[in-house]
Amino acid sequence: MEDQENLDTFIQRIHQHDAPFYREHWGGVQKFAELPVVTREDFLKTPLSLRRYKDEKALIKIVHDPAGAFLSEWSFVDIGREAYGLPARRPMVFLENPHEAIEKSMWCYEHGMLPLVGEKTLEIATYAAEKYKIDSLITDTSSLIKLEPYVRGRGPLDSISILGERFEPKELLHFGQYARQVRLVLALPETGAIAAAALAAEPRWEALPDCILENTETLLVTKKRLLVTPIVRYQTTLPPLNNYDGAL
């Protein structure tokens, strides 16, 4: 009940905000469950200036999509509230997408960790990883596969967080031997982290705190925090999560 009240207050706050994006998109609808979904297409066609709900020190990312590109702004404080990685002493961030790599490196700083961000050239990235004696990795599937010779040739890491939109867990299972903990983090550039699961053949996904997931034909995501561009009933193209019952 309290959650529902908080959600109603959150929706009301967005309704009353100067930024017109959601107000115009929702019309007069006030109830969360009845709010029209918002899609990436809506972000693509709406300038950031019309969907900016707060003004803080922030990182601006470019999100490339086959249909075009749009800006996704994340305040550093909000970046820190995402659940991208696990506590570590010497984390390395090695991601295919450079905007995401910078953002996840800033996540490390927000958590008091000094990160090594991987350079694009694999040889330089692994050379630096050896020198820094990294103890954890924040990466994505394709980058992890490139790093496999390095992780195979060293002692186990404390943790590997594999970020992505889709996973083939069975193809990743063997990475379990390279770290004490390997987790999958479902994330989109514009929504941040959505759900996480320990690496397994059939991962048991859990929605991350502050995330409301609705299993419809595709996964609907709501973040219960006022982000620069809030995420409310955001229709992803991700399939529903099997283990998640969709309850609010």
């Binding site: 990182l59 601006i60 470019i62 590109a69 010497r90 961000v117 350079e119 050239t121 630096a128 820094y132």
Partner: protein, 373 residues
């Protein structure tokens, strides 16, 4: 005096200390990684001086920056400084990647409405091609770094960004980033050292020109002391109208393991390789590298100067050598100079014969970058 290998060893020590004693305030430090252009990369832990975040935002109180920086660790350092500035000042940063330089960027920059541009000269110039006149007119400050700034590049940027105050920063990743900054009174490629940095000239010639030596704190109690950074310059005498005493005039890359130009890296090792294969009609060679503007487009220019016992040769032979050399010398891992000429990024290679032997002002230097065109 410290050489590159000494700084690499210092880097190892800084990392070792970091492992033993992790920082209490991580955000005061950054792990920098050099590109490895001149050998193994250097990985180093470094701090930054307390005024660095303020310098990034500048007196103009720029609130929205675009960073045009290739290296990931340098890009992260830039974003970290933006994060670390005074709380009352909002600073948003878009850290561009070269792969963002596609058609959509113009609309995105118009949406973002940046007030400042910061980054490598060639990357900034490439970004300007995606900036509408309206968006460019609102840029109030441009900070250039990483490469020697040529007159043509500066004039191209001034033409595109009419309202921008120009700034230039002298940096070296392995020395912890910013070393010196140009003030409003200085011409291009002239700088005052940033706080805690000391610059001197080693073994200057009659014109006062010699190797630049850098001293500065690096990490905790570790210091870089009289590090021969690989650039050539001179110290200008007299007090600047801004009140600062020390002024460094940067004259180019020395030693010439490599020269950066028009966003590419010309490597002496590769020129040596091709010279040994292709150049039959010479005793010695030099390469002069510069940037030039051709119909408003910034291009790299390479002149190959040959000495062959004082002999002159026909124009046809020069053209033949230029063709053969261009097709053999790789500027990127996969593209030859001829490829880059075809793409309009470089002018065709020019070959000239010298009747006089090359002077050996600095031992074994074959590659020169030219600041003035």
């Amino acid at each position: 005096m410290m050489e590159r290998s000494d700084v690499a060893a210092l880097g190892e020590r800084s990392l070792a200390e970091l492992i033993v004693a992790p920082p209490e305030e991580a955000r005061l430090y950054i792990i920098r990684v050099t590109s490895g252009t001149t050998g193994a990369p250097i990985v180093i832990a470094t701090g930054y001086d307390s005024a660095a975040p303020l310098r990034l935002a500048g007196d103009e109180r720029v609130e929205r920056m675009v960073a045009c920086i290739g290296s990931m660790s340098a890009r992260l350092a830039n974003v970290l400084l933006a994060r670390s500035g005074p709380h009352e000042r909002v600073l948003q940063t878009l850290a561009l990647d070269p792969q963002d330089l596609v058609g959509d960027l113009e609309g995105l920059l118009a949406d973002y409405h940046p007030e400042g541009l910061h980054g490598f000269c060639s990357f900034v110039v490439r970004t300007l091609a995606y900036m509408s006149k309206e968006a460019a007119a609102d840029i109030r400050v441009v900070k250039l770094t990483g490469e020697l700034l040529s007159e043509s590049t500066e004039s191209l940027i001034r033409g595109c960004l009419p309202a921008a105050r120009h700034n230039q920063i002298y940096i070296a990743a392995e020395a912890g980033g910013s070393l010196a900054e140009r003030c409003a009174y200085l011409p291009r490629n002239c700088f005052h050292p940033t706080p805690e940095v000391s610059l001197e000239i080693h073994n200057p010639d009659a014109d006062g020109i010699g190797d630049i030596l850098v001293s500065k704190p690096l990490f905790r109690s570790m210091r870089i002391d009289r590090y021969r950074i690989g650039d050539v310059g001179k110290i200008r005498q007299g007090t600047c109208p801004c009140g600062k005493e020390a002024t460094l005039e940067l004259l180019g890359r020395k030693g010439s393991d490599y020269v950066k130009v028009a966003g590419a890296i010309i490597r002496r090792e590769e020129f040596d390789r091709v010279a040994s294969l292709v150049l039959r009609h010479m005793d010695d060679y030099r390469v002069e590298v510069s940037e030039t503007l051709e119909k408003g487009v910034l291009k790299g220019k390479v002149v190959l100067k040959l000495y062959w016992g004082g002999r002159s040769v026909t124009l046809a032979l020069c053209e033949e050598i230029a063709k053969e050399f261009s097709h053999a010398v790789f500027i990127t891992p996969t593209q030859t100079l001829a490829d880059l000429v075809e793409q309009g990024l470089f002018l065709p290679l020019k070959v000239e014969y010298s009747l006089e032997q090359f002077l050996e002002k600095h031992k074994n230097i074959k590659l020169f970058s030219l600041p003035q065109l």
